[in-house]
Symmetry: C2
Subunit: 193 residues, 2 copies
């Protein structure tokens, strides 16, 4: 029962923080959305920062599992997995009218300068996503699908960074173009030649 209520609060908080950001989200608002009595927050969390850090773990669990499943799916050649992964996210964002963006990228931008605890956790999170790309790029290189001269660590970093930038642009343009364009540059410029 305790775990269930805690989970409800985290899921409601994650939804609102993804939409509005960390600072603009109030604890009362989260409890109301979770259908949990006022005052129960501090029974489960030390303070808002502690809660925010657990929300990052929640996002990580979801995104890293999804990325791992998609990028390590041996039914497809390695580079096609990246293409499908990026295309799948473009479809996902289209289905929510190009809102939200990446919660990890959003929090990195909002909290990177303001909390060392957030920064460390977000750093680990982005690095873990980069590592998943490194694995699939290494596999592509081993199979001869990717030129030996390509620095796979730096390329993986740039795929993830430029993805976060494409999402920022998507949020103001409200269209697929930044995501499709990112995918095209990754597949046709970065990962060829």
């Amino acid at each position: 029962m305790k775990t269930e209520t805690r989970q409800k609060i985290i899921e409601a908080g994650a939804r609102i923080i993804h939409h509005k950001g960390y600072h603009h989200t109030g604890i009362q608002e989260i409890l109301k959305a979770a259908g949990v009595p006022k005052g129960s927050f501090y029974f489960y969390f030390e303070n808002k920062e502690d809660f925010g850090l657990q929300v990052i773990d929640h996002f990580n669990g979801y995104y890293l599992a999804l990325a791992d499943e998609c990028l390590q799916d041996t039914a497809l050649p390695p580079l096609n997995r990246i293409d499908r992964f990026l295309g799948g996210f473009a479809d996902l964002f289209e289905s929510v009218d190009f809102t939200l963006g990446c919660p990890i990228g959003n929090l990195a931008q909002e909290m990177g300068d303001l909390s060392a605890a957030f920064r460390r956790k977000l750093q680990r999170s982005v690095r873990a996503m980069v590592d998943l790309y490194v694995r699939v790029l290494a596999e592509a290189q081993q199979k001869g699908d990717l030129a030996d001269g390509i620095d796979i660590r730096e390329t993986a970093d740039f795929i993830v960074s430029s993805w976060h930038g494409a999402l920022v642009r998507m949020k103001i343009e409200k269209g697929r173009q930044p995501l499709d364009s990112h995918r095209r540059f990754v597949m046709q410029t970065l990962l060829t030649g």
Copy 2:
């Protein structure tokens, strides 16, 4: 006198919003930093949103003038201007310990889903920056420094988007690597061949 006070409020607000974001910045905090009496805010601005929109104009004035000066500096070949521009920003961010990021990118991420007025203004701002890159890339193409097959509008868009993404990563890594890496990809991968 009126204009001077208004300008003081905008400059103080721009500094704080750049550091902490729009929602996390309070009006009293801005007035205090500006050394302006409490209560004078609504004499100059309709409301916080109106103020925020004027802060965007303030950022635009600064960044677009800087970009224009650097990217249209005919003393250097076009592609070298881009290289110098990106390197200059990496130095600038190093001088402030890899904090802040791009205020336009920050606000795009924070406000893109929350205010149509912010979204429109930020859209115009990013598009104006892209236009400056389009101009310099067109010049490079005319001179034969850039392959004819390169779509300069899409490339300019991607340079700006991936720059915003590099800044997000910088904010959690607190190092130059994302910026240097962005510059290297732009100069050695996107703008060659």
